[in-house]
């Protein structure tokens, strides 16, 4: 009985969609457009997030050591850095290495530093940070803690750089929430509209079914199924368009900007998200249909 019912719903839905071909195409394209923009948006957000994370990982924290630092103090500082969740990697730069770096960076100036023992370059630890380091005040407090340790002369990190990353992340996150919500709303409204259209164009049929005593599920079923099918079709179309857009974007970016945004690093949405979009499309179609058919209840 349940199976027969489902067959009836699907059969009626397919017939309905086919009889209203023009409407169906219009609806599916509209749903696809809404989901496509949502998809583009998700992709851009994901890629920007990845970019911010990569840039964040390039950020460094330098801990300058006093010239009279003891080995035990140095080991203590190193342990403090290693133990902190913000720190990804720690590297010691000795006084000699610091001098070598200066000589490399300013070759004209090298002769000015004549005595290799009495030069003014301090030893330091250079720490590479995790990508989340730019968020919140944890870094600030880590720096303060390090500054208070014995043997530490100064702690520096690129505040402006991290703040920039923070702002971009904030902007992307904030814009993402708003635009995502509005787009989801728009997609749901679109489907509701589409199903209302279907219901409107067949309100006589519905009224008649009610008057001959058809069960509500018999009346609503095919419409809900139409909504689900349209949602699924729209989602599939949107994913196809998205894949195309991403491959086009790779091509274009490879040509236009061989710089910071590496074209091959542009990622599409993961497979799970694909399934989610299709299921989401069907859910939205189902919901829109139920919403539009609510008055029948």
């Amino acid at each position: 009985m349940l199976f027969a019912g489902l067959r009836y719903f699907v059969g009626e839905a397919v017939t309905g969609l086919w009889r209203g071909r023009r409407s169906t195409v219009l609806s599916v394209v509209t749903i696809a457009a809404a989901l496509f923009v949502l998809g583009i948006f998700l992709t851009v957000t994901a890629n920007l997030d990845a970019l911010v994370a990569r840039w964040s990982e390039a950020a460094e924290l330098s801990v300058y050591l006093r010239d009279d630092v003891s080995l035990a103090e140095r080991a203590e500082v190193q342990r403090a850095l290693r133990g902190d969740p913000l720190v990804r990697e720690v590297q010691l730069v000795t006084r000699d290495e610091a001098l070598a770096r200066f000589r490399r960076d300013f070759p004209d100036l090298a002769p000015a530093v004549s005595n290799p023992q009495a030069h003014p370059f301090p030893a330091s630890f250079e720490a590479r940070l995790v990508s989340q380091a730019s968020e919140g005040d944890a870094l600030e407090s880590l720096a303060a803690r390090l500054r208070g340790m014995r043997g530490v002369s100064d702690v520096r990190y690129d505040r402006l750089w991290l703040q920039r990353l923070q702002s971009i992340a904030a902007l992307v996150g904030w814009g993402g929430a708003v635009v995502g919500a509005v787009l989801a709303l728009a997609a749901a409204l679109t489907v509701t509209n589409v199903v209302r259209l279907a219901l409107f164009s067949r309100r006589d049929e519905i009224q008649i079914m009610e008057l001959v005593g058809a069960p509500l599920s018999f009346i609503k079923g095919p419409f809900v199924m139409e909504g689900i099918l349209q949602g699924a079709l729209g989602a599939t179309l949107a994913l196809g368009a998205l894949a195309l857009a991403i491959s086009l974007a790779r091509g274009r970016l490879a040509a236009a900007a061989a710089g910071l945004i590496d074209a091959s690093s542009i990622v599409g949405l993961p497979a799970a998200t694909h399934v989610l979009v299709v299921v989401g499309g069907m859910a939205v179609g189902c919901l829109g249909a139920l919403l539009a058919a609510r008055r029948l209840g």
Partner: protein, 218 residues
């Protein structure tokens, strides 16, 4: 079968479509409902189908007060009633055959039986050759006959027909009336609203006359 007591129906503020109307119809009876335009015939039939709720009064059909049914009970009740609407109410997107078969489908009748029975009823009303046409491709009288076929197909306990021969020529009208009588002879209660005095005379059953929502002759 039908017991109506003190039934009133008020539309808006001052249009009394029915006013303190009472009537009894026995099980298996064949009753005509007549009266001038706007007398309240269609309103009475719509109330009997639970399409509208009365303002006051009791309506008992088959021992149950149909004004107090829950939505699900209304569905079950309607499946036992065959209704011919004044404006036909056929589903435009389904063929004649599908329109008639639909009434059987919702009863859960097996597929093969649905088809056999539908074909039989379409033959009764003389439309077997138009079975695959859509309602809008039919003449007014043909549409009316499809509506009649749908009302009769599931052998309901009660048949309500609103002006079922208004678009038919006198010969065909009489033929259709004979169909109703045939159904009636199997025990079905039949209530037919009509203006056609000649038809009533010809068929010769009890006739209840309404005027301005009140019982005039009955």
């Amino acid at each position: 079968m039908i017991e109506i007591e003190g039934l009133s129906k008020l539309y808006g503020r001052d249009v009394f479509a029915l006013e303190d109307f009472s009537m009894h119809v026995g099980k298996g009876e064949f009753v005509f409902l007549t009266g001038p335009s706007g007398a309240g015939k269609s309103t009475l039939l719509r109330i009997l189908l639970c399409q509208e709720a009365p303002t006051t009064g009791r309506v008992i059909v088959g021992g149950r007060d149909i004004t107090r049914l829950k939505p699900r009970e209304v569905q079950t009740y309607r499946r036992t009633v065959g209704f011919v609407f004044q404006d036909f109410k056929l589903i435009p997107g389904k063929t004649v055959f599908e329109n008639v078969m639909f009434a059987l489908r919702i009863l859960g009748v097996p597929d093969v039986q649905q088809r056999r029975r539908t074909f039989q009823v379409l033959k009764w009303v003389g439309l077997q050759h138009r079975a695959n046409a859509y309602p809008l491709e039919l003449s007014g009288g043909e549409q009316q006959r499809v509506a009649i076929a749908r009302a009769l197909v599931n052998e309901p306990a009660l048949v309500l027909a609103d002006e079922p021969t208004g678009n038919l020529d006198p010969d065909l009208a009489l033929e259709i009336m004979n169909l109703f009588r045939e159904i009636n002879s199997t025990g079905t209660t039949v209530l037919v609203a009509t203006h056609d005095r000649e038809l009533i005379r010809h068929v010769g059953h009890r006739a209840v006359t309404l005027d301005h929502g009140r019982l005039a002759i009955g």
